[in-house]
């Protein structure tokens, strides 16, 4: 209970399998960062976890309720999708911001209009404009407003800061944290701007080629992941029995990203250099191409 569970989620588009049996549990009252490369399956996973699209196999439960086609479960979730307006005024682009927000006000049972009004003011958003006339950053603002004002227990953001300027990004993080502190809602934020948001993620999920390869507390992950370089034999000794990523050999020297055991420490010696890594570097080491 008090969790959102994805169990064995498989998603196929024709013969192309995008998600390969994803198992993940999100606990209530945490901010998760969902990090993955383009095409890793982040949006697909979120759209299935929110009950917007069906999985090919597997199921999603929220607080013990099946999410698919179940209004009681859907009422607990908001996935404010990234708006891609490509068809001008003929599609969703023809809607005015205020019309889109009106739909959100009607559909989300706990919608908080005061949050909507505050964000419109903070972002200086013109709600009379059509979605097709908005810049990418402004479209992100609209999705942020809907997600935060929805007051849904589980709220998913897909690239919320894409196109936002520094001031708007700062406003978003500030209001998100305020809302989190006040409501204890669960937020999942899918983003490529990792370092900027790293501090607010209590846990991170790394999604690589349709698999969750890591789910861990952000501080613990950053605390136990180091970049080790130096004499090849010494680095090999350190690597022995440990999870290593992105191993590079140049002549007699070797460098690798090493995940230490919790509480384990590694110090610089004459033969090796140990450097701390930030979340982005860890992600690149784990999901980037092997050297």
């Amino acid at each position: 209970m008090n969790t959102l569970e994805c169990k064995g989620i498989v998603k196929k588009f024709g013969s192309n399998e995008v998600l390969h049996g994803v198992d993940v549990t999100l606990e209530k009252g945490k901010i998760y960062g969902l990090i993955g490369r383009n095409g890793a399956g982040k949006t697909t996973l979120l759209s299935i976890a929110s009950g917007q699209n069906p999985a090919t196999a597997g199921e999603v439960d929220v607080d013990g309720l099946k999410v698919w086609d179940n209004q009681d479960a859907l009422d607990k979730i908001c996935f404010s999708r990234e708006l891609n307006i490509t068809a001008g005024n003929t599609g969703i682009g023809g809607l005015k911001v205020k019309e889109y927000l009106k739909a959100a006000r009607t559909y989300f049972p706990g919608y908080d209009k005061s949050i909507e009004e505050r964000l419109i003011k903070e972002f200086e958003l013109d709600i009379k404009k059509r979605l097709s006339k908005l810049s990418k950053g402004m479209l992100s603002m609209v999705t942020i407003i809907v997600a935060l004002a929805s007051k849904s227990e589980y709220t998913f953001f897909d690239e919320p800061v894409a196109g936002l300027d520094v001031v708007a990004r700062d406003t978003f993080y500030k209001i998100l944290l305020e809302e989190f502190a006040e409501s204890g809602r669960t937020f999942v934020i899918s983003t490529h701007i990792i370092e900027e948001a790293a501090d607010i993620f209590e846990e991170v999920l790394f999604l690589d080629k349709g698999n969750i390869i890591l789910k861990e507390n952000t501080q613990e992950l950053v605390g136990r992941t180091v970049h080790v370089s130096g004499v090849s034999e010494e680095v090999d000794k350190i690597m022995e029995g440990k999870k290593t990523y992105h191993v590079e050999t140049i002549g007699r020297s070797k460098a690798a990203t090493v995940m230490l055991e919790p509480g384990e420490e590694l110090r610089n010696t004459a033969d090796i250099t140990v450097q701390p890594m930030n979340l982005q570097q860890i992600f690149v080491a784990m999901c980037g191409k092997e050297a």
Partner: protein
Amino acid sequence: MTGFDRNLKYWFYYVSKSMLAIYAMIIGIVAVMSLLDGSNFIDTFTENIVLYLTMASAMSVIVFGFTNITVMFPVTVSMSSRRRTSLVAMNVAQQVIGLLSFTISFICALIKWPVLKEMLSLVIPAFLGVIGILFFLGNIVAFLSERFGRTVGMILYIVFVFFVVFLCTIGIGIVKNGKTFSMVMANPQAFAILFCAAGIILDVLGIVLVSAGLNKKEIKYC
């Protein structure tokens, strides 16, 4: 409010607004035409009000079919609505507002041509049958737009309409001199009721057609 209530509330708001926009467009066109040919707008409008209201109502059915399923339906699903609930509420709103609009034009027709009042038992079922067929066509547009996208969907719809008109023309040609035609002419009341029933059945079939496969459809924004 339940999910269905929320859907009804939103779809009635959206469909009514779209309906009013279509009325405004028709009025605008008549006003511009009157301005261009120097006629009196009020006179022209009053003279042809049945035609304009019927046009607006028929247009609305096709416009709803063309846009609601591809534009607003994905938005409602992305706002945590069940698909089937949204689809049912969408159809209820479209059909109630459409029927209301057709009824207004029908009442105007009764006022304009009092002779129709004497044939109400014939005219009402025929009127309902025509509306049922129009709703069916609206759902065919919705089905094609949802499956093939708006542009290809509209092209396929036009092909479909031509095909149906072709079949009807041939069908009428075949039965015109036959026994069936004589039977129909002998009992127009029964024919009107049959026509009404056919319209309603087609309307239901149209809804079923749109809902089929919708549960597996990938919701994307366009």
